[in-house]
Amino acid sequence: MNKRQWIQTRRPHWTQFEKLLQMHSGRTGSFKPKANEISTFSRLLRELSNDLSIVRTRSWGIEIESYLNHLVGQGHTQFYSAPPGHLALFVEYLSVGFPQLFRANVGYFVVAAILFFLPGAVSWAVIQNNPSLAGRIISSQVQDQFDTMYGESDENESPTQRGFGEDRAVMAGFYVQHNVGIALDCFARGVLLGVGTAYTLLFNGISIGAVGGYIVSQGHSERFLSFVVSHGSFELTAIAVAGGAGLMLGNALLHPGQRTRFEALRVRGLEAVQIACGAAAMLVVAAFIEAFWSPSGVPVALKYIVGTMLWALVFLYLSMSGRNK
């Protein structure tokens, strides 16, 4: 059979396949054909694959080859697309998948936590004992800001005042945008051999420690500590979690084990990104606690109690959730 006759006999099948493709490839719609269409589609896909091989082996020209290649490619995309996700998967991910993955890779978290908390504790201790050093890390304007924020004369914090709820809502949005952004940056930079993550962790650890040390040294410890104790549970842990995920990326490139470097990055990257997203979810929780609960006017003792419970909750969540699944 020569090329022209072959095309004439095969062409109806191709147009039929094209029609099937068009019917089910609305730009957003997923592939939901009827039962008899599925069998037709699958048969045609195999037929067209065969046609493509024939055209290749007989060198019947680039046009017909690329036409069939395009059709088979489209069919391949449709036929092997993943089933659509749903909300239950998201809930399961947060309650089971994320904590499990976290525990499986807890070593990275420990390293990240050391990189984050240790320099933080050191800078806190140093600056609390010698506040004159604070200027090396925090500029004097920012120091003044902290003085007024945590100063005793501050009366804006009263929840009975009209603007309170509105102010808090701005901060909630800001904390989501800012803190989650930092955590995800911290994760993403891990791909640069972990250097970016380590830098971000050290930088944030040192500056947060310096701020804490400075504020406590100025005598605002009560207000400051009762403010940070609640959301700190989710926030500080989540930054270390995201940092750990970033270190996973970097370590995959540095110590790939039996795989090639990029192969290791692919395998561990898929786990790392799921851990990083869990950290992002924790930071969203932290943002709302920080915005609405932490600055509220409830007694300091109650804040400490709730704060302690939240730390315990974070610990239980990461260590226990999804353990029996």
Binding site: W60, G73, A82, V170, L249, L270
Partner: protein
């Protein structure tokens, strides 16, 4: 254009000596390594699919388009929320912050999820993200490749880590692509072209001026291809190019007709050869009623198919 040239070089070299024309063109080494912007994927149906990879320049343009869309979206949203700010200044601002965050970190994931691997910029540039295996992209790889975007964008948005790795990696992947096992391909809708030559207007050659030799299918494909694209070059250049093949074919066919035509109008000569054998092959098929490779003695003028 260069793509088909490359293909000819590789295919010809693989079975040299098939005909006179092939022998003359098979100066390339037997195994030509694959170079080009194609990604080859073997499907479960045992066929190699070729995808054309997208290079850094189109992807940069797509990125800029997306950036414009994202910034414009924030502006428009802020503008329309201005009345709300009178009553709920804080809530509106907080909402805008959240949208800003989602816009920054979630735009690509949402687009790739809902529009089958395309953001708006990619759609305009005809690009699509797929997995290395040719499968459509799924959720977590999409999240991974777009989070790592933050590292790829260092130190500047478009020139940096991602751009460099794109140039260095085999499949033009930035770090995010490498980590998530994805590639960006160029998609062009292709239509099956109609017969490129108006066959009715060309008179076939007389049978008695040709010998028994029948050129192979590849030669006819080459002629068809060449004639289909003859408008790409000037008329004179087209004849010049065609004369190489026309001369060889005339020799090989023992063409005893008008020698002037071979020299002066080789394109027309090629077209006439094409038409002649097209009909002959059709006749042949009608007689045998099936594709059957057979070799009849070369002196018989009609009953000769490859």
């Amino acid at each position: 254009m260069w793509r088909c040239d490359l293909r000819f070089a590789t295919h010809k070299s693989s079975n040299e000596g098939d005909s006179g024309m092939n022998r003359s063109m098979s100066k390339a080494p037997r195994e030509v390594p694959h170079i080009g912007l194609d990604l080859h994927v073997e499907t479960p149906e045992n066929v190699l699919l070729a995808y054309q990879l997208a290079g850094p320049s189109v992807r940069s343009i797509a990125y800029l388009l997306d950036l414009i869309i994202r910034v414009a979206f924030m502006w428009v949203l802020t503008f329309f929320l201005t009345p709300l700010q009178v009553f709920f200044p804080g809530t509106t601002m907080g909402f805008l912050f959240v949208v800003w965050f989602l816009n920054g970190w979630g735009y690509y994931v949402a687009c790739e999820g809902f529009f089958k691997g395309k953001s708006f910029g990619k759609h305009v540039m005809g690009l699509r993200v797929i997995q290395e295996g040719g499968y459509p992209i799924t959720f977590w790889p999409s999240v991974l490749r777009n989070f790592v975007r933050a590292a790829d964008g260092m130190p500047f948005f478009l020139s940096g880590v991602g751009f460099t790795t794109m140039l260095l990696s085999k499949n033009l992947q930035r770090l995010g692509d490498l980590a998530a096992r994805t590639v960006v391909i160029t998609e062009r809708p292709v239509v099956l072209p109609e017969e490129p030559i108006i066959l009715e207007k060309i008179t076939p050659l007389e049978r008695d001026v040709l010998g028994g030799f029948v050129p192979d299918e590849k030669t006819f494909s080459a002629i068809e291809h060449f004639l289909g694209r003859r408008n790409v070059v000037s008329h004179g250049r087209g004849h010049q190019l065609a004369s190489i093949l026309a001369g060889k074919l005339a020799d090989r066919l023992n063409y005893s007709g008008d020698a002037l035509q071979v020299r002066e109008y080789p394109m027309a000569f090629l077209a006439r050869i094409y038409v002649t054998f097209l009909e002959r092959r059709d006749d042949d098929h009608d007689r045998h009623e099936a594709y059957r490779p057979s070799r009849v003695q070369p002196t018989s003028a009609a009953g000769n198919s490859r």
